[in-house]
C-alpha cells in the first residue's frame, strides 16, 4: 500500500500508515480536547491510551478550558490537593453535569464551575488529611432532577 510519506521506504512498509499511537505526547494533545465522558471511554481502549489518559495534563486541559490566567501556579496547588484527574472525577464532572447542556461551554459558567469545584475539592482533601470518613462530597452523588433546571 502506498503511504503518504515519501521518505518511508515502501519495501519495509507492512501496510500500516501513520498511527495515532506512534507518539504518546501527540496522543495526549489530541485527547486533551475531548470532554470528560469521552476521556473516560478513551481510557478503556487499550493500555497505551489508558496510560495517556492517566496523565494529569490531559485533565488539566479539560478543566481549564476557557479559563484564563494563572495556569502554572494553579497546577502546583491542584497537584498538592490531589490532581486534576481526581478533581474532575470528584467535583468538576458532577458540577458540569448539573449545568443545563446549553450552558456547559460558556466561559463564565466553566470558570465558576472550576472555582466551586476547587473549593469542594479542598474540603475533601482536608477530610482525607484528618483520616476520618470523607463525607463532604457525598451529596454530589445524589440524583438531581435536571428538568427543574432552566
Amino acid at each position: 500500500m502506498e503511504t503518504q510519506f515519501d521518505d518511508v521506504p515502501l519495501e519495509h512498509d507492512k501496510g500500516k500508515g501513520f498511527s495515532i499511537n506512534d507518539n504518546a505526547d501527540l496522543l495526549a494533545e489530541i485527547l486533551s480536547r475531548l470532554d470528560g465522558r469521552s476521556l473516560g471511554v478513551a481510557a478503556c481502549v487499550c493500555r497505551l491510551w489508558s496510560g495517556v489518559c492517566r496523565r494529569d495534563t490531559v485533565w488539566e486541559a479539560l478543566c481549564t478550558r476557557h479559563v484564563s490566567g494563572g495556569a502554572a501556579a494553579a497546577r502546583a496547588v491542584v497537584a498538592a490537593l490531589g490532581g486534576y484527574r481526581r478533581l474532575y472525577r470528584l467535583c468538576m464532572g458532577p458540577v458540569l453535569e448539573r449545568l443545563p447542556p446549553a450552558r456547559r461551554d460558556e466561559a463564565a459558567h466553566l470558570s465558576l464551575s472550576l472555582s466551586l469545584s476547587l473549593s469542594l475539592f479542598s474540603i475533601d482533601c482536608y477530610e482525607r488529611l484528618g483520616g476520618r470518613q470523607r463525607s463532604s462530597l457525598l451529596f454530589l452523588r445524589n440524583t438531581v432532577d435536571m428538568n427543574m433546571m432552566e
Binding site: L112, L116, F121, L129, G130
Partner: protein, 570 residues
C-alpha cells in the same frame, strides 16, 4: 352534586363572569387572579373533583368519550365558577362502566363508578391524613396558648390527644414528623425538671450533629461559601491577613479559603486563623488538632499559616486581647449562627451581651465581618408567638431535608439526614422549653440584625454578584427544585420555596474617623498554655487570673465547666 347556594351553576354562558347573588365568602385570592372563583373552603373538594374528572377522561379512553360532547348539547356553565363547572363536567361524561342515568344527583354513586374500591380507600385515607395534619396543627396552637395562659391541665390533656393522633398519622415525613418533635418539646417543657435542656449533650456530641447537618443540607455550605467569598474580596491587596472564627467546629469553612488564597493572582498572603470553640472536657485539645490539620493543608499549597485556638464556653467570655490582633494586618471576623446566642429577652432591662461583643469587634477595626444567621423571629417574649413562628420555620426546614432525602442514594446520606433532624430537634427544644438565660437559640430576622449592626457603628458591605452566582451554582448541586437564593439589599438569603431560612450579610468597621476605644490588648499577657508550642489554646481559667478591663457592665466569668457565675460591676 354539592349544593352551592351562592353558585352560578344555573346561569347560561355569558361573555363575562356572572356575579353570585350573595356575597361569596373568602374567594381564594390566588385563583381569583387567574380568573377562577373558588371559595377557599371548597379548594380541597374542587381539587379532588378535578382529579376525578381527569381520571374519568383519561381512563375512559377505550370508551371513545367524545370530548366535544360536553360542549355540544349541554348547558354551558360558567367556567370561572370552577367548582360548579367541574361538577357539571363530571356529570356529563359517560362513566366507564354502564351505570344509572347520567345525571344522577348523589355524589356517592359517582364515586363508586369512577373509583374502584381500593382507589377510593386510598383517597379516603389521604383525606383523613390531611385532616389529621390540620388537626395536629390546631392542637399544637391550642396547647401553646394554654401554656401561655398557665393552664397546665388543659395543655396536658391536649398533649395526650396529640400523642393519640400521632399514632394514626404517618410520622415519617411532613407535618406528622415535625409535630412529633414539637409535641416532644412541649412535654419536656411541662413535665421535665427545670432546665432539662441544659443537659443537652456535650460539645463533642454537638459537633457530630453539626457535621451531619452540614452534609445533609446546603445551609451551612451556603454560609461558608458566601462568607469566604466576602472575606476573599475584602483581603484583596493585603499580604498579612487574620481571620477570627467565632465557632471553629471542624474547621470545614477554611480549606476552601486557604485554597482560594493560594490561587489568588499575586500570590497568597500570610494567613493567621484564630478559632474560638468550647474547651474539650477530656483533656484533648480539639481546637489545636483542627489547627494542625488546617496547617498541613496550608503547607501543602504553600500558604504561610498560623493557628491559634481560644477556648471559651461563651462568646462574651472572650476578650480582644486573647485574639492578639497585630497591627497592620487585615482582620476578618466570621460568625456563623453564633451571634444570636448573645441576645437576651427583648423586654429585659439592661444591655444584652451582644452590645459589648459588637463593641469590641468594632474596636478590632476589621476589614470585613461576615454574619450568617437563621432568618426567623424566635426571640419573641410571648410563648405562643414564638411557638407558632418556630413551627412554621422548622416545618419548612424539615420539608427541605425531606426532599433531599428523597433524592439521595447512599445509606450514609440517609443516615446523615436522620442525624441532621436531631440537630434541628435540639434547636426546637431550646426554643420551646427554655426561658430566660437558659435559652440560647434566639434567632432574629435579618432586618433586626441590620439595625443592630448599624447602631453598633458598623457599615454594610454588599455581597456582590460573585457570591450570588456561586450560591446559585452551589444550589444546583442539590435537588434544585425547592431552594432559592435571593439578594436583599446586598445580603443573600437561602430559602425553601420562597421562604427565606438563612441570611448572610457582611459589615466593616475599618474606616471610621472617631477614635475607637483603645483595644485592650496592651495588657501584659502571659498565656498558660497546654502545650509548649507557640500555637496554644488559652484556657479560660487563665482569664480569671488577669486584671480585667472594666468596659463591660455585664461581664461574666466562667470556669471550664458549663456553670455560669455573673460578676456585676467592677
Amino acid at each position: 352534586m354539592g349544593p352551592y347556594p351562592c353558585g352560578s351553576a344555573a346561569t347560561g354562558w355569558e361573555g363575562g363572569r356572572s356575579e353570585a347573588p350573595c356575597a361569596a365568602p373568602e374567594i381564594d385570592g390566588l385563583l381569583a387572579g387567574a380568573g377562577y372563583r373558588v371559595r377557599s373552603s371548597d379548594l380541597c373538594h374542587v381539587a379532588q373533583r378535578l382529579e376525578r374528572l381527569e381520571s374519568a377522561m383519561v381512563g375512559s379512553s377505550g370508551n371513545h368519550v367524545d370530548f366535544a360532547h360536553p360542549a355540544s348539547d349541554a348547558v354551558h356553565y360558567n367556567p370561572s365558577d370552577l367548582a360548579a363547572w367541574v361538577d357539571s363536567m363530571l356529570s356529563e361524561l359517560a362513566p366507564a362502566d354502564p351505570g344509572p342515568a347520567r345525571h344522577a344527583p348523589a355524589p356517592d354513586a359517582w364515586e363508586d363508578q369512577i373509583y374502584s374500591q381500593p382507589q377510593r380507600a386510598v383517597a379516603a385515607r389521604m383525606e383523613e391524613e390531611e385532616d389529621s395534619g390540620i388537626r395536629l396543627v390546631h392542637l399544637l396552637m391550642s396547647s401553646a396558648d394554654a401554656i401561655q395562659r398557665g393552664d397546665v391541665a388543659l395543655a396536658g390533656s391536649l398533649i395526650d390527644e396529640m400523642r393519640l393522633l400521632l399514632t394514626r398519622v404517618n410520622t415519617g415525613f411532613g407535618i406528622g414528623k415535625v409535630a412529633g418533635y414539637f409535641v416532644d418539646a412541649l412535654t419536656r417543657r411541662l413535665f421535665s425538671a427545670s432546665s432539662a435542656a441544659a443537659a443537652s449533650g456535650s460539645p463533642a456530641e454537638y459537633e457530630i450533629l453539626y457535621h451531619h447537618f452540614y452534609e445533609a443540607s446546603p445551609y451551612l455550605k451556603f454560609a461558608h461559601f458566601t462568607a469566604n467569598q466576602a472575606i476573599l474580596e475584602a483581603f484583596e491587596g493585603h499580604d498579612r491577613v487574620h481571620v477570627i472564627d467565632f465557632s471553629l467546629m471542624h474547621g470545614l469553612q477554611w480549606p476552601a479559603l486557604i485554597q482560594a488564597l493560594a490561587l489568588r493572582p499575586g500570590g497568597p498572603p500570610a494567613l493567621r486563623l484564630t478559632g474560638i470553640g468550647p474547651p474539650s472536657p477530656d483533656g484533648r485539645d480539639s481546637l489545636r488538632e483542627i489547627g494542625l490539620r488546617l496547617a498541613e493543608l496550608a503547607r501543602s499549597v504553600r500558604v504561610r499559616f498560623a493557628f491559634r485556638g481560644v477556648a471559651a464556653n461563651r462568646l462574651d467570655d472572650v476578650r480582644p486581647w486573647m485574639l492578639q490582633v497585630a497591627p497592620g494586618e487585615a482582620v476578618a471576623v466570621n460568625s456563623v449562627m453564633q451571634l444570636h446566642r448573645l441576645l437576651s429577652d427583648p423586654d429585659s432591662p439592661g444591655p444584652a451581651p451582644i452590645d459589648s461583643v459588637l463593641a469590641w469587634i468594632r474596636g478590632l477595626r476589621p476589614k470585613i465581618i461576615t454574619v450568617v444567621e437563621q432568618e426567623a423571629d424566635h426571640n419573641k417574649p410571648g410563648f405562643l408567638d414564638r411557638f407558632t413562628e418556630a413551627l412554621f420555620y422548622y416545618s419548612t426546614v424539615f420539608d427541605s431535608l425531606e426532599a433531599g432525602r428523597a433524592s439521595c442514594s447512599g445509606a450514609q446520606q440517609q443516615q446523615s439526614t436522620a442525624v441532621a433532624e436531631v440537630y434541628l430537634q435540639r434547636e426546637i427544644r431550646d426554643i420551646v422549653c427554655c426561658e430566660g438565660p437558659d435559652r440560647a437559640e434566639r434567632h432574629e430576622p435579618l432586618m433586626r440584625w441590620r439595625a443592630r449592626m448599624i447602631r453598633a457603628g458598623l457599615r454594610p458591605v454588599h455581597l456582590g454578584s460573585n457570591a450570588f452566582k456561586q450560591a446559585r451554582m452551589l444550589l444546583t448541586l442539590f435537588s434544585g427544585e425547592g431552594y432559592c437564593v435571593e439578594e436583599v439589599d446586598g445580603c443573600l438569603t437561602l430559602g425553601w420555596h420562597s421562604r427565606p431560612l438563612i441570611a448572610a450579610s457582611a459589615w466593616r468597621a475599618d474606616d471610621f474617623d472617631e477614635d475607637a476605644r483603645p483595644i485592650p490588648d496592651n495588657f501584659i499577657f502571659n498565656s498558660i498554655s497546654n502545650t509548649n508550642e507557640s500555637n496554644s489554646s488559652i484556657n479560660n481559667n487563665a482569664a480569671m487570673l488577669r486584671r480585667r478591663n472594666s468596659n463591660n457592665n455585664n461581664s461574666r466569668s466562667s470556669d471550664s465547666s458549663s456553670q455560669q457565675e455573673s460578676i456585676h460591676g467592677m
